[in-house]
């Protein structure tokens, strides 16, 4: 190695060995990006342009079954008209053309690229180009069918005025149902999980029967049956809301039990042996040595269960809640039946996403953290 080369290497930073790019792969990459950008910008620009203009219902809109008497008809019409805007049409075809060139060039050339970065650019360009083509085709297909009918029912936000507080209350109730259900489920699950690990079948069997029953029957059946069982069977007079929390807890308990069981089983055998060899009883060993380690490992899957439960709370619609207890989904359904406008469900989806997306990110971060061993659960390292 020559002296100049040696000086170029910074010992503190790993060298970048991917090499420079070249005009051809850079062009392919740019074409792929351009394809997606052109399509997105064209569609968005048309939509914004039409939404901001003070248009009236056009003849073509009325032909497409949008009645001037409909609340919000103008807004819906704008969406549909904007889809047929020459700017949208042009950008869609241009996007397909750019994407096609990127795809063909990228596929034809990536094998011949002589550095890693060049190959990356060629392949990424081809992939983005393909995505642009698919996106354009989807939009073209959508607008060739009955976009007016769809927009009228799912993108007509005029009827939602005044429902803001109802949705906020719905979100609060959904979170209450899910949180209370999850907490109850974790307690039930921890107990059941430990029971399933017993070496005695007489202890294991009832726990397994419970778990298999709740995992094996539909949650909506459990909600209805559980509510009426409590009400008529046991004579417990509970609100549908409270009954739902109990059933959610019982159901989540079954899944959480499996999570805890797997978590405990994932702790090395040597851990319980070490604890027992120091004179600890089985329950002491579990409590001080095993469960604290297992808990760290089960946090991501339990959070995942929580996200699932948030969405599953929509099933309380089967129980007939009182208005103050409406969750997100029931709120949307009530709005929809009052106005015959399904845009309420579109908003419901957005409301669920607002709650679940941050949680999903949190789960992924927790999983990554656990994998990297930063929480100190890695085994004996030499």
């Amino acid at each position: 190695m020559s002296l100049t080369e040696a000086r170029a290497l910074d010992p503190e930073v790993a060298p970048d060995v991917r090499g420079p790019t070249a005009p051809l792969p850079a062009t392919i990459f740019a074409l792929g990006v351009a394809s997606l950008v052109v399509i997105t910008l064209g569609v968005v620009f048309s939509q914004v342009n039409y939404a901001l203009s003070d248009r009236v219902l056009t003849r073509s809109c009325i032909e497409q079954q949008i009645s001037p008497e409909d609340n919000g008809a103008v807004g819906v019409c704008s969406i549909v008209e904007a889809l047929d805007d020459p700017l949208t049409t042009g950008s869609l075809y241009l996007g397909v053309a750019l994407g096609g060139i990127a795809l063909v060039l990228g596929l034809a050339s990536y094998r011949r690229m002589d550095s890693e970065r060049r190959r990356d650019h060629a392949i990424t360009g081809a992939v983005l180009g393909a995505q642009g083509i698919l996106l354009a085709i989807a939009i073209l297909w959508f607008r060739s069918a009955s976009p007016a009918l769809f927009a009228k029912h799912f993108l007509n936000f005029a009827d939602l005025e005044g429902y803001g507080s109802a949705f906020v209350r719905g979100a609060r109730n959904t979170l209450t149902l899910a949180l209370a259900g999850e907490l109850g489920g974790i307690v039930i699950g921890l107990v059941l999980g430990v029971l399933t690990l017993s070496h005695r079948r007489s202890i294991r069997a009832p726990a397994r029967i419970y778990i298999n029953f709740f995992r094996g029957t539909p949650l909506i059946w459990q909600l209805v049956a559980g509510y009426f069982l409590l009400l008529f069977g046991f004579g417990v007079r509970l609100s549908a809301f409270t009954a739902a929390i109990i059933v959610f807890a019982l159901n989540t308990g079954a899944y959480a039990a499996e999570v805890f069981r797997a978590g405990i089983q994932s702790i090395e055998r040597g851990q319980i042996e070490a604890a027992r060899s120091l004179g600890m009883s089985y329950s002491q060993a579990m409590r001080y040595a095993i469960v604290p380690q297992a808990v760290r490992r089960v946090i991501p899957p339990l959070m995942n269960e929580f996200v699932i439960l948030i969405k599953d709370t929509a099933l309380v619609i089967a129980l007939g809640l009182t208005a103050a207890n409406y969750d997100i989904f029931t709120t949307a359904r009530e709005g929809q039946s009052a106005t015959f406008n399904s845009t309420f469900f579109t908003v419901a989806a957005i409301a669920y996403l607002i709650v679940t997306l941050p949680l999903i990110r949190l789960v992924n971060a927790a999983e990554k953290r656990l994998r990297s061993g930063l929480v100190g659960v890695a085994g004996a390292g030499g």
Partner: protein, 258 residues
């Protein structure tokens, strides 16, 4: 076999009840017959070394002593208590027998000192300051006093294993069991662990050591057992056995490992 047992008695003719006595130990794992009738007596201040090829049942035998592995057949006594009896309080018995494992088995979510104080507080019911003092003493004794607040993941294998030894010693056991405690260590870390064990033997600790360290077996062991296919193939004074192995199996084994 029969005359080997008599030599055993003559070598350590100490008076009084032996600390540990195993009689007719058999162990099956499923249909695998791992231990095939083993008798063993450990007296005060004995350092019993167990050698043998892998799969010969050395670790299983050691784990039968504190009942981490229950023998399928046979009896284990600790002092004058039969601990294979189902009514025996194994939790209490185990507080008198320390064991150190090949994989250290420290609790990874606790600091070194907490690893030691846990059982002192929860099992021996010591007040926490007393438990802490005792733990610090033991950590210093094995030479890792400055690592008290480190987590196992922050320690080298040798340091972890010494913490594990300190954890067992802190219970003030009457006998220490070592299960291939240097086998998982990088070669340059073996010495520091062996040194602790040699010092322990010098202090008069009763020990049972399953090991592949032939030098340690010869120098520190007061008695040696050679296990092969679940049987005690040969036993006696370590130096004697290394110098004049009686059985072909031991000769072959020593030829391979020395």
């Amino acid at each position: 076999m029969a005359d080997l047992e008599t030599t055993d008695a003559t070598i350590r003719g100490t008076s009084g009840v032996p600390l540990v006595r195993l009689e007719g130990i058999h162990k099956w794992f499923g249909n695998l017959h791992v231990l095939r009738g083993i008798d063993l007596t450990i007296q005060q201040r004995d350092v019993v070394v167990v050698i043998g090829p892998s799969g010969s049942g050395k670790s299983t035998l050691l784990r039968c002593v504190n009942m981490l592995e229950a023998p399928t057949l046979g009896t284990v006594w600790f002092e004058d208590e039969e601990i294979t009896d189902i009514r025996a309080d194994l939790n209490e018995v185990r507080t008198h027998m320390g064991i150190v494992f090949q994989a250290y088995n420290l609790f990874p979510h606790m600091t070194a000192v907490r690893n030691i104080t846990l059982a002192l507080e929860k099992v021996l019911k010591l007040p926490s300051d007393e438990a802490h003092d005792r733990a610090m003493d033991q950590l210093a004794r094995v030479g890792v006093g400055n690592k008290a607040s480190s987590f196992p993941g922050q320690l080298s294998g040798g340091q972890q294993q010494r913490v594990a030894i300190a954890r067992a010693l802190a219970m003030q056991p009457k006998v220490m069991l070592f299960d291939e405690v240097t086998s998982a260590l990088d070669p340059e870390l073996v010495g520091e662990v062996l040194e602790v064990m040699i010092r322990l033997a010098g202090d008069g600790m009763t020990m049972m050591v399953v090991t592949h360290e032939m030098g340690f077996a010869r120098e520190v062991g007061t008695r040696m057992l050679f296990l092969d296919e679940g049987r005690v193939e040969e036993q006696g004074e370590p130096k004697d056995m290394f110098l004049r192995p009686q059985s072909d199996r031991l000769r072959q084994f020593l030829a391979k490992v020395l």
